[in-house]
């Protein structure tokens, strides 16, 4: 028996000794909630060994305090009342672990997002805080030590998407000796990057970077590559996916190959915003193109000093920022799903500045105008492009987001087009710029991922991109364990960010595989064989088909691996023969009772 196990055994027998730690959150909480008074009142409740406060409970000294008290007061249960558990529940579970206490003897009470930030009245906020902590005490008295689940991982990975992100992830995995299956829907590897020429901030030729990567991927025996390939079926869960891939040849439906993998990396990327017919003259005037059209133009090295497009000489170029990004209701028309892109696409500012400089470098006499809302050149080496462009004489017009510029034919016919806008830099003066070429800095948006979303039950954000478990704590993981986010399926990214994300996803996946198993939260459902009648009601409610019936014993069995711990079966069982670990009836009920101020009846312990 390990030390931890012995400790757990002891805890089961002990009367609860609860420590309550209330966080000021540097005033975020304590400015509204009288935390000292709360600590005092809570301190009077039965089984509470200590009740105290700290300026920042999540800080090292804060966590130090908890560890110290666990030892000093022999605590066997810990409650932290602070911010939302989504931020620091894990942090504090680890704190308990370090103090030799089972991390699931912990309860996190949310008194910031759900009290101090939403209740003005100090008295009411303080009372509410006390109630919530009292409820936590009711619940925690019944908590028992839990162990994480360990699930074996089949040492192979599937990477979906053959763009630079997918390639990177696949390459990194292969380098660690892991079998990879890489599938690309399109006809070539390299994705959108393959269309680009010089790329910021390094000014390399996109394909100089891409080619070796692709060769490396194709060369290694560890990677099976399929183009024109799409997932047909996917069975199983983390550690053990069985996937049928349909590999076509130039669109024609081809044969089905199978892949048995332990993890999946989604590197399916995104799509460009497609301006509507007539949006900023798109489709009406041949002189209106997108930033990526321009990039493709610039790939072709043109001889001579004259910049021409389809044979026409170009003198005045106008760039429009935020086309299909940072849209506003009422100003911009919603897309097919009735949604607008209200987010920033992040690559376009630098992208436009970069193209402007590129043009200036090649054709110094060009007049270049940029119509922008804000310049967001936030990345390393990005701001430099703005400075450079300014020096090179690119002229900047700052439009009002609610009155974006308009592109029209030049009535006087001196130049094919006019771009008109108000300029907030010059007290909203009306400006009118002649243009031979109008370049729309189009944004990026999520592509239709409905099939994958159904297959892997991904959560989707309001912006229609996939949602990670937590942006800071688990940035490249999907809530559905075993599936990782490798790049811009998660949101607009430039190449640098996408490859970084892919690399991160790659190493997460590799770590999981080399570990050979994963730990998963223990909150799964368990059947009490003495009470279970095998009435099959739970079978029909499980979203994951994790429950089957043992015809021999005539009872229900729950697969630890398939169960994700939603607890639906527990709520449906008419005999309460199914209990969800961490949320069993005793725990949740006494939480309710304590919340309502009903004193604990039945003794806890043993």
């Amino acid at each position: 028996m390990t030390e931890a196990m012995t400790r757990n055994e002891q805890v089961r027998g002990e009367e609860p000794r609860i420590g309550v730690f209330i966080c000021h959150c540097g005033g975020n909480i304590s400015d509204v909630v009288d935390v000292r008074r709360v600590a005092e009142e809570i301190g009077k409740l039965p089984n509470v060994a200590i009740s105290t406060t700290h300026m920042f409970m999540c800080s090292d000294p804060g966590q130090g305090l908890i560890q110290e008290k666990i030892k000093e007061c022999g605590l066997n249960r810990v409650i932290v009342a602070a911010c939302s558990p989504s931020l620091h529940e894990l942090t504090f579970r680890r704190t308990l672990n370090r103090a030799g206490l089972n991390p699931y003897l912990f309860e996190h009470t949310n008194i910031r997002e759900q009290v101090s930030w939403v209740v003005e009245d100090k008295e009411l906020a303080t009372r509410k805080t006390t109630r919530l902590i009292r409820a936590a005490i009711g619940r925690i008295r019944h908590l028992v030590p839990l162990e994480k689940r360990h699930i074996p991982i089949h040492p192979a990975a599937l990477v979906i998407g053959g763009g630079v992100a997918g390639l990177t992830a696949a390459r990194d995995l292969a380098c660690r000796g892991i079998e990879v299956t890489l599938i690309e829907r399109g006809d070539h590897l390299g994705g959108r990057m393959a269309d680009l020429g010089h790329i910021f901030p390094t000014e390399d030729q996109a394909n100089d970077l891409l080619r070796p990567l692709i060769q490396e991927v194709l060369a290694t025996s560890k990677i099976r590559v399929y183009t024109h390939a799409e997932i047909e079926e996917s069975a199983g869960t983390i550690g053990d996916f069985h996937i049928k891939i349909c590999v076509g040849a130039n669109g024609k439906p081809g044969e089905v190959v199978e892949a048995h993998v332990g993890v999946i990396i989604l590197a399916i990327g995104l799509e460009e915003y497609a301006p509507r017919e007539g949006e900023y003259g798109m489709g009406l005037y041949p002189q209106v193109i997108t930033l990526l059209d321009l990039a493709r133009e610039l790939v072709k090295e043109k001889p001579g000093q004259e910049f021409t497009l389809n044979g026409r000489p170009i003198r005045n170029v106008a760039f429009l920022h935020c086309v299909g990004s940072r849209q506003h209701h009422g100003v911009h028309r919603p897309g097919p799903q009735g949604k607008i892109n209200d987010y920033c696409s992040r690559y376009c500012c630098t992208g436009i500045l970069h193209s402007a400089c590129e043009l200036k470098k090649r054709y110094p006499h060009l007049n270049i105008y940029e119509f922008f809302e804000d310049i967001r050149a936030y990345g390393r080496g990005h701001e430099e492009y703005y400075t450079k462009a300014s020096e090179e004489g690119v002229r900047f017009v700052r439009f009002d987001p609610l009155r974006p510029p308009c592109v029209e034919k030049d009535p006087r016919g001196e130049s094919p087009l006019l771009v008109r806008s108000i300029d907030r830099l010059t007290e909203n003066m009306e400006v009118e710029v002649p243009a031979d070429l109008v370049v729309l800095g189009i944004g990026l948006q999520a592509r239709d991922m409905s099939k994958l979303i159904d297959l892997y039950r991904c959560s989707v954000g309001a912006d229609r991109f996939l949602l990670e478990v937590h942006p800071k704590l688990r940035p490249v993981e999907l809530a559905v364990s075993g599936v990782f986010l490798g790049g811009s399926a998660q949101g607009p990214m430039d190449i640098t960010e996408a490859t970084a994300a892919a690399a991160a996803a790659g190493s997460k996946a590799a770590a999981m595989i080399t570990q050979g198993e994963v730990e998963m939260d223990p909150f799964i459902a368990k059947v009490n064989e003495d009470l279970c009648t095998g009435c099959r009601i739970c079978l029909s409610v499980c979203p994951y088909d994790a429950i089957s019936r043992d015809e021999e014993k005539g009872i229900a069995i729950i697969s630890e691996k398939l169960c994700t711990g939603c607890g639906t079966c527990a709520a449906s069982c008419p005999s309460n023969a199914i209990q969800q670990l961490g949320f069993n009836d005793a725990e949740v009920k006494s939480e309710v009772l304590a919340l309502l101020g009903v004193p604990e009846q039945e003794p806890v312990g043993a």
Binding site: V115, W117, R127, P543, C566, F583, E591
Partner: protein, 167 residues
């Protein structure tokens, strides 16, 4: 179903009485939505105390009647919208339970306004705040439910100090 003459006489509302509402929220959508309301500093009534479960599918009707039986003036059940349940369709099971639960509670004389079932997504902090304030006011209008009081007055659980009917 007839109304009793003694028992359902509305208890006079005590000084400083505040509605006590228990909110059962699923973690991934509604609870996160409530956090969102906080992050956005949206102020709302403090009367709904939240109990977190992983999925609204876990919300056993037994928990709802337990809350009422022990002094809740109202109960609120929130889960992900149909279609974006973190557990695929756990919330469908919640949805299927509600009509029968509502009916049972109504048959036992608990006003429909005291029990609410709503879908609140992780992005709908605003909606959550509104729901809470709205329901708090509805329950305030109804006054205390005071189930423990009613049952006590009928001698439930303590035969000793029973007050027989007719005296």
């Amino acid at each position: 179903m007839e109304q009793g003459r003694t028992e359902t006489a509305k208890p006079e509302v005590a000084e400083g009485w505040e509605p006590r509402i228990v909110g059962f929220l699923c973690y991934w959508c509604s609870y996160t939505g409530a956090d969102g309301a906080g992050t956005a500093r949206i102020q709302y009534a403090p009367n709904v105390d939240i109990i977190k479960v992983m999925c609204s599918g876990r919300i056993d009707p037994e928990l709802v009647s337990t809350a009422f039986a022990h002094g809740a003036d109202g109960v609120m059940v929130c889960g992900c919208h149909i279609g974006d349940c973190h557990y695929i369709n756990g919330n469908h099971k919640t949805m299927a339970r509600m009509p029968l639960l509502k009916r049972l509670l109504a048959d036992l004389g608990i006003e429909p306004e005291r029990f609410r079932h709503e879908w609140v997504s992780a992005a709908e902090g605003q909606k959550f705040a509104q729901l809470v304030t709205e329901m708090t006011e509805q329950v305030r209008k109804l006054g205390p439910l005071n189930w423990p009081g009613i049952m006590h007055s009928r001698g439930v659980g303590h035969g000793q100090d029973l007050r027989p009917w007719g005296e």
